[in-house]
């Protein structure tokens, strides 16, 4: 029980690969300040993350004896994530009648690939399917939470008298930098 709590805590706050490795940077830049939209997108990310890490783990278990597949695992993972992303986005589009433009889908795909690939490959380090699912679910929730926090922060920053040269993406990058300073404190957990 203690171990599971530890995994959950680590996944939610400590293994903030997204900030520390700057993987999901573009996701944060593209984060809108529309609260409903960002919540749905965050939920979609969590579901994609969970589903893809389950599938990747299954593939890994099935191909454990073949060395070639181990080398190909990142490629296979990307393919799985790609399929899952399209599936979940289609699903959400119909469920919530959101209008995702093709640009948005492409952007999310690129970013989801990098961010989710990291978390889902990490979660395949757990041999147990339950632990991997838990890790990816909680990791996804942590990611969603920070995404929602960031969109609220962005909305706040849009109202500030930011100098003209820094308005838009530069101030977003600076803000991410400051936030990642905070997340640096969580290393070693």
């Amino acid at each position: 029980m203690y171990e599971i709590i530890l995994i959950a805590l680590a996944a939610a706050i400590a293994n903030y690969v997204i900030f520390v490795d700057l993987l999901g940077l573009s996701f944060f830049i593209s984060a809108t300040s529309n609260f409903r939209r960002i919540t749905i997108l965050a939920a979609a990310t969590t579901i994609v993350l969970m589903l893809s890490s389950i599938f990747i783990l299954i593939v890994k278990m099935l191909t454990a004896n073949h060395a070639v597949f181990n080398l190909l695992l990142p490629m296979i993972s990307m393919l799985i994530i790609f399929i899952m992303t399209i599936f979940v986005l289609k699903l959400f589009k119909n469920l919530f009648s959101l209008e995702f433009s093709s640009h948005n889908i492409a952007l999310s795909l690129i970013v989801l690939n990098s961010g989710i690939l990291h978390i889902s490959i990490r979660s395949t380090n757990y041999e147990n399917l339950f632990e991997a699912t838990l890790f990816s679910l909680i990791g996804g929730i942590g990611f969603s939470l920070s995404l929602i926090c960031f969109s609220a922060l962005k909305e706040n920053i849009n109202q500030l008298p930011v100098p003209e040269v820094l308005r838009g993406n530069p101030i977003t990058m600076i803000t991410i930098g400051i936030v990642s300073l905070g997340f640096m404190g969580l290393i070693g957990l």
Partner: protein, 331 residues
């Protein structure tokens, strides 16, 4: 309720900090004054440069708020730290203050941003604290002003007889399988104390006095300090584990050992970067308290205030949003 303007609020905060500054000077000697003067001069100069570059005129509010940033950085950095470390910290803090717009409501606590960046950049420089007064030998007890200045400016190694681990560091790094009581007996910093930690207990008490003064004259509200201290107390009681070798440390250690009191009453009550409603302040304070405890006990750094404050500031807009929404729906 009496209304106090922003400018006089900062003056009251400066007044409330004075007992703690006097206590720091008593414990650590001239070096605190040297730190303060370098930091304040540096913040004021940098602020002036940035405001001039933006072709604006400097206002008295900006002067007092950047003085306050300088004081916080000087207090947070250890005594006898090299001068360029202080300049580095103030440079980042003032940049972080003005990058969101001069005279704007800064979403992050700039002094903590400066301190956190310095802590990550020069961990060795920041972790060497000199011993509080009563733990030092007689011969090294008093460094005069000349010696202090030469240690600060000449980039000389601080003599080992002067330095020592802080209570949180002792607790974190000498904790290999020892019971809490054994750690307390082995280390003078615990065993010679009157009720918590030698030297630090009085510094924390003076921060507490200053903070209570601010609450009484209604410059700050009680919400966030109570929430932060309460959550740290709760967690340290929960994980105290009867003082075993895996104990998270006593509540006394966590309340009086590090920067808890400074953070609770001065840093997290900063009006610009903390939530606006009372409920929001309680959530904000508890988030910071929990993070401070988690990083101190299980994380990689002995003290955690700066990181916790930045993460708390990160969550502030969301907290504001939710607490305002509930307020509107009630009305």
């Amino acid at each position: 309720m009496r209304h106090i303007g922003n400018k006089s609020k900062i003056n009251y905060v400066l007044l409330a900090l004075s007992p703690a500054i006097l206590m720091l000077i008593y414990q650590f000697g001239w070096s605190v004054l040297v730190n303060l003067s370098i930091a304040i001069t540096s913040t004021l100069c940098l602020e002036l440069i940035i405001v001039t570059l933006a072709k604006q005129k400097i206002k008295s509010l900006q002067i007092s708020s950047s003085t306050l940033i300088g004081i916080y950085i000087a207090i947070a950095l250890p005594p006898l730290v090299s001068w360029w470390v202080i300049i580095y910290a103030t440079l980042i803090a003032i940049t972080a203050k003005n990058v969101f717009g001069i005279d704007a409501k800064n979403p992050f606590n700039s002094s903590m941003v400066g301190y956190a960046a310095t802590l990550i950049s020069f961990p060795n420089k920041i972790s060497t604290w000199i011993l509080p007064r009563s733990l030092r030998n007689n011969e090294t007890e008093f460094l005069n002003l000349h010696e202090t200045l030469s240690l600060t400016f000449n980039n000389v190694e601080i003599p080992d007889s002067l330095t020592g681990a802080t209570a949180l560091e002792v607790f974190k790094y000498s904790n290999d399988g020892l019971m809490l009581e054994q750690i307390y007996q082995n280390n003078k910093i615990f065993s010679d104390a009157s009720f918590a930690i030698v030297g630090w207990e009085w510094i924390s008490i003076s921060f507490l006095i200053g903070g209570l003064f601010l609450i009484i004259i209604r410059v700050i509200t009680w919400h966030s300090p109570t929430a932060m201290i309460g959550s740290i107390c709760f967690l340290s009681l929960l994980f105290f584990d009867n003082g075993s070798s895996s104990s998270g440390g006593s509540a006394m250690l966590h309340l009086f050992g590090g920067a808890t009191m400074l953070g609770a009453f001065f840093i997290i009550t900063d009006p610009a970067s903390s939530p606006e409603t009372g409920k929001g302040k309680i959530i904000f304070g508890s988030i910071i308290g929990v993070l401070v405890y988690i990083i101190r006990v299980w994380g990689g750094y002995p003290d955690a205030l700066a990181f916790a404050v930045i993460l708390g500031n990160f969550a502030t807009p969301l907290i504001n949003k939710f607490t305002f929404q509930t307020h509107e729906s009630k009305a």
